[in-house]
């Protein structure tokens, strides 16, 4: 489903972030990306939905080389990849409901199904109570959950979750990870970048460890540390 071949990334201001990354992730997989702050986890994910372009190498998502994708096709790629952004990226002047609905609206989904699916997704992340709140009126964890709801509302074949539990208490974190796991079992490829040691250790899934832009470990049934 996802294939990185000798991918390197340097930013225009000369910062080198990824060095010769190669990685192959199958359709049914659930992968944790771990590594210290600044290792390049977020950057690697950004390559997949083309928020960033690789400096060299191939980024293949669902048999398509993302870097060579026509500009017009990018929105359709992105609709197939649900993303939980590390910094949420909620639209500030829209309520939680509208934010989540937006991801469905862009696909042209009919109004009736939108409302049903949005409420479902918000229920899954435990946010029914705050549907009409604006992002400014949410706690950190609530924003994070709204963002998760938006990422999954569309049932995308690929789900990228960048530090999805950074602002959640252990119980809620655990619920969210269970949710991601359930989604994975419904045939969705799931990538989770996280620093949450206890979750990685107890899930026993494939772990890819980045350090200074290089893959230093790729382990099935791995843990957070070595």
């Amino acid at each position: 489903m996802i294939e990185l071949v000798n991918v390197s990334k340097s930013f225009s201001n000369g910062v080198d972030v990824l060095f010769n990354i190669s990685l192959n992730i199958g359709k049914e997989e659930f992968v944790f990306i771990v590594g210290p702050s600044g290792a390049g986890k977020t950057t690697m994910m950004k390559l997949l939905y083309r928020e960033e372009m690789p400096s060299s190498g191939k980024v293949i998502v669902d048999r398509v080389n993302v870097a060579e994708l026509d500009y017009k096709q990018v929105p359709y790629l992105r609709r197939n990849i649900g993303v939980v952004f590390q910094d949420y990226k909620l639209l500030p002047k829209r309520t939680v409901l509208e934010n989540v609905a937006f991801a469905l609206r862009v696909t042209g989904a009919p109004r009736s199904t939108i409302r049903r699916k949005v409420m479902q997704a918000l229920e899954l992340v435990g946010m029914l109570r705050r549907v009409n709140a604006f992002p400014d009126e949410l706690s950190g964890g609530e924003k994070q959950r709204a963002c998760i709801a938006r990422a999954i509302v569309n049932n995308p074949p690929i789900l990228l979750a960048d530090e999805p539990t950074g602002n959640l208490d252990p119980t809620t974190s655990w619920d969210i990870i269970q949710l991601l796991d359930k989604i994975n079992r419904r045939n969705t490829t799931v990538l989770v970048a996280t620093h949450n040691k206890s979750i990685v250790d107890s899930m026993k899934r494939r772990v890819v460890a980045l350090e200074n832009g290089r893959i230093v470990r790729d382990q099935l049934l791995g843990g957070y540390g070595v």
Partner: protein, 295 residues
Amino acid sequence: MFSNLEFFLIEALRSFRRGALMSLVAIATISVSLVIFGLFLLLVINLGNIVGTVSSRMDIAAYVEKDISLEEAGELQLKLGKLPGVEKVEFISKTEAWRNFKQEFGTKLELDDIMTSNPLPHTFSVKVRTPDLLPAVAKQVSNFQLIDEVRYSGKFIDQIRTLVDAVRLGGAALVVLISFATLLIVVNTIRLTVLARETDISIMKLVGATDTFIKWPFIIEGVILGVLGGLVSFIVLKFSYDAIILRVAAALPFLPLVADQRLLAVIHLVMIVGGTALGMLGAYISVSRVLKSEV
């Protein structure tokens, strides 16, 4: 596309409402620049009109020395009136002319004592439609057998004609310039409101919105801003112009101000439609720019 229209409309209205202060500031700016535009337009039209009227008052004097009967005079007047370019022909009999002359100089000169007979000729005063027709008409008038001499103040008319042309040209140039300025101000104002939402736009792109999908609500919002700006300026301009012509008509009744309701309606329409078009254009340009600069 069109199944989304309702949604886009709702979107536009919402963002309009939620960014109320910015929207109001934008509308105020648009209204103000449209009012200036409208005032300029009316000013130029009126200037053109005034100069036009003044110049149309220029006339040709055609003298007849032979004593002619009233009948003959009437006949000639009719013929002259039928010449192309002629607006109006007046007949001033030599008696009348003499009376006028005496009125001008008479009180202090005992003219009747000095002169036994009236030395002045009969005069036809020929008004032409536009001053540039003067030479041609004068020539035609002089071709009539009865007419002995034709006069019009050539140099003065030339000056007036140049002035009229200059005012018309200058006015047109000004209107073009002000239109351009208004366009710039409106487009820039809307661009500022769009630039303020760059982050929103980049988020929309990241969650899979196509450029078209993002554009429409902005364009509709631009149209709303433009329409409201146009409406406000229309109201301001209408009432102030009505007040102005009333006052001017009272104070300077001889000034020919434009009060043709149909022309005014057209100008008002231009302002509302112009505001709308500019709002749309401004939004389109700005959002396209921002979209291109985003990932």
